[in-house]
């Protein structure tokens, strides 16, 4: 089963994307904590794309597509037309170093990596897909 939403790529739409994911996942047999962590992972990728790739342009949309593959896994595709970046190459920062340097960012993709089982980046001619896969009953 497939569900999708498309919104202008501005930060104020993150809440709409989260509500969409919660509504879709509510039908699955997942705990509130699991749903919340999946919502968080997708939210982090969308926020990153809006801030770094789309440059806050409402002209560029962000699409989120959720595919539920039986009881085995859930696949989230986050599609944008910005310049994209391959989050798999993102080095994991040291939290204590972030604190020492008083940085306000840098842990979003770390959360995504810890929550999801697979992260793929697919670069098409006119758009990019960040594909997050969660195998059910594997990680919390």
């Amino acid at each position: 089963m497939k569900h999708n939403i498309s919104v202008p790529g501005v930060k104020s739409n993150l809440q709409r994307i989260r509500k969409f994911i919660i509504d879709v996942l509510r039908e699955q047999h997942l705990s509130d904590v699991e749903v919340h962590s999946l919502v968080l992972a997708v939210d982090e990728v969308c926020a990153n794309l809006i801030i770094h790739s789309n440059k806050y342009s409402a002209k560029h949309s962000i699409d989120v597509e959720i595919k539920i593959e039986g009881n085995d896994k859930i696949v989230f595709d986050i599609i944008d037309v910005g310049r994209g970046f391959d989050i798999r190459n993102y080095p994991e920062p040291d939290i204590k170093e972030i604190i020492r340097l008083k940085k306000k960012g840098g842990v979003g993709l770390m959360l995504v990596k810890r929550i999801m089982d697979e992260i793929d980046f697919i670069n098409k001619k006119d758009y990019n897909i960040v594909r997050l896969t969660k195998n059910l009953q594997s990680k919390s």
Partner: protein, 114 residues
């Protein structure tokens, strides 16, 4: 959307967070907490009972003030986090770096410790 109220109770400053702290709204948390820390308020309580959601942007705000809080010898404790929000802190191990307790009563004990 988030609403943050700053309430002074004697020598304690209470920040009451209600709503979602995400990449869009974390600026409000940053402004509220930043004001309290730069003011040097010695005892800071963060009421997370109404905190429905927090993303890395919100975590980043807390992390960015830890150094100043330690340098200025201020005390800060968070309390009332629901399971979903607590899980986000735990994924990164921030529950070990911040003082997080269940109730306001426990939080008061922790910030009044020498």
């Amino acid at each position: 959307m988030v609403q943050i109220d700053t309430i002074k109770e004697d020598d304690i400053t209470l920040l009451n967070i209600n709503g979602d702290v995400d990449a869009s709204s974390s600026i409000q948390l940053d402004e509220s907490l930043g004001a309290v820390v730069s003011n040097g308020d010695p005892k800071i309580l963060i009421d997370c009972g109404g905190l429905n959601y927090i993303s890395s942007a919100g975590l980043g705000v807390f992390m960015s003030y830890l150094e100043d809080i330690n340098t200025k010898n201020l005390k800060m404790a968070l309390f009332g986090l629901n399971d979903k929000v607590m899980n986000v802190f735990e994924i990164l191990g921030l529950d070990q770096l911040l003082t997080i307790v269940d109730t306001k009563k426990e939080a008061l004990v922790r910030i009044n410790e020498a």
